[in-house]
């Protein structure tokens, strides 16, 4: 009798210790036919700094890091974009990882200005897309990217000032995010990306 008790205890502990592989899915869930499924990033179509269309086919089979910024932003964008630059350079050789920065100021951030900005910054063509498009569509998809299950309800919600960097996987699920202005958070985010690539891409 006692051995059973020990055995079930052991199984219980082992079950608690078995961590799910890799990063959790942070996207919200919704019900389809009585089953819970994770939300995915809907389809989109934007134009990058080289006047190329960036849509779902650009990211097919690839993961990407994304954020929202504008060139003349005097508050949080410069530090976010500097952190995006270090992420680009850290994962330069990783073909299965792209970066997409959305301008939330399409009126001023034309393709020409985005090109200039990207070249000056050192954004690698076909690796880091600076995209613009219809303002409504950009603002709508921003909602989708931030449609994640937040672990910290105290995070500021105003999306254009939240400054989040977000990891989207090859299945259009959000897998990790961080405050792009916080260097400690960005470091942790980079290790999450490493874990993700190691577990699911490489």
């Amino acid at each position: 009798m006692r051995i059973f008790l020990y055995l079930s205890l052991l199984i219980f502990i082992a079950a608690c210790n078995s961590k799910p592989a890799g990063l959790p899915i942070l996207s919200k869930q919704h019900e389809v036919d009585g089953k819970l499924v994770y939300d995915t990033i809907p389809s989109f179509s934007f134009i990058n700094q080289d006047s190329q269309i960036i849509d779902k086919s650009t990211v097919a089979g690839k993961a990407y890091i994304t954020d929202f910024f504008f060139i003349s932003c005097p508050t949080i964008c410069p530090i976010m974009q500097q952190n995006m630059l270090s992420i680009q350079n850290r994962f330069l050789e990783e073909d299965k990882l792209l970066l997409i920065s959305h301008s939330i100021d399409p009126k001023r951030d034309s393709v020409v200005r985005l090109k200039q900005y990207a070249v000056n910054l050192g954004a690698v063509p076909d690796k880091w897309h600076m995209v613009t498009g219809k303002k409504d569509e950009i603002y709508e998809i921003a909602d989708d990217y931030f449609n994640l299950v937040l672990e910290d309800p105290t995070l500021p919600d105003g999306f254009d000032h939240s400054g989040r960097l977000i990891l989207v996987d090859q299945n259009a699920h959000i897998r990790a995010y961080c405050n792009g202005t916080d260097s400690t958070a960005v470091k942790a985010f980079i290790s999450s990306i490493e874990t993700f690539l190691h577990d699911e891409i490489d």
Binding site: S72, P74, T75, P78, Q82, V119, N120, L121, G122
Partner: protein
């Protein structure tokens, strides 16, 4: 004898606390509030888009314009350490003459910069030229 040791301790204490005081503390706080989000805490700016202030030749070459740039911003294309920058900088019109002087002195003495002390008179003379 006791008096001497008390005096000595007091002197040491005064010296130490004097060493501890950062003369540009106010400028540093103002810099962090109004400048650091673009020019970064370490004065390096943003690659190709926002010029650095650390080790920037522009600062030594345009000493008399700097106060005006802080107050009114800048639209010009400029060259800093041989790199061209053409994004506009917004001004910070709410800063007082003293605050501008303190920021300039913080910049001039940070990150290895040794660009000398800017007086309030110098700042006021500069601002007079670009009064809007």
């Amino acid at each position: 004898m006791k008096l001497i040791s008390v005096l000595f301790t007091t002197m040491v204490f005064i010296f130490l606390s004097a060493c501890d005081t950062n003369p540009y503390k106010h400028g540093e706080i103002m810099y962090q509030n109004f400048c650091a989000s673009c020019h970064m805490d370490d004065g390096t700016g943003l690659e190709g888009n926002i010029p650095p202030l650390a080790g920037a030749d522009y600062i030594t070459q345009h000493r008399s314009n700097l106060a005006c740039i802080i107050r009114y911003g800048m639209q010009d294309t400029i060259s800093v350490n041989g790199i061209i920058y053409n994004n506009a900088m917004p001004g910070v019109p709410q800063l007082t003459d003293f605050e501008i002087a303190n920021i300039l002195n913080y910049i001039n003495h940070s990150w290895g910069n040794d660009y000398g002390f800017v007086t309030i008179d110098e700042v006021r003379a500069s601002l007079e030229k670009c009064k809007q």
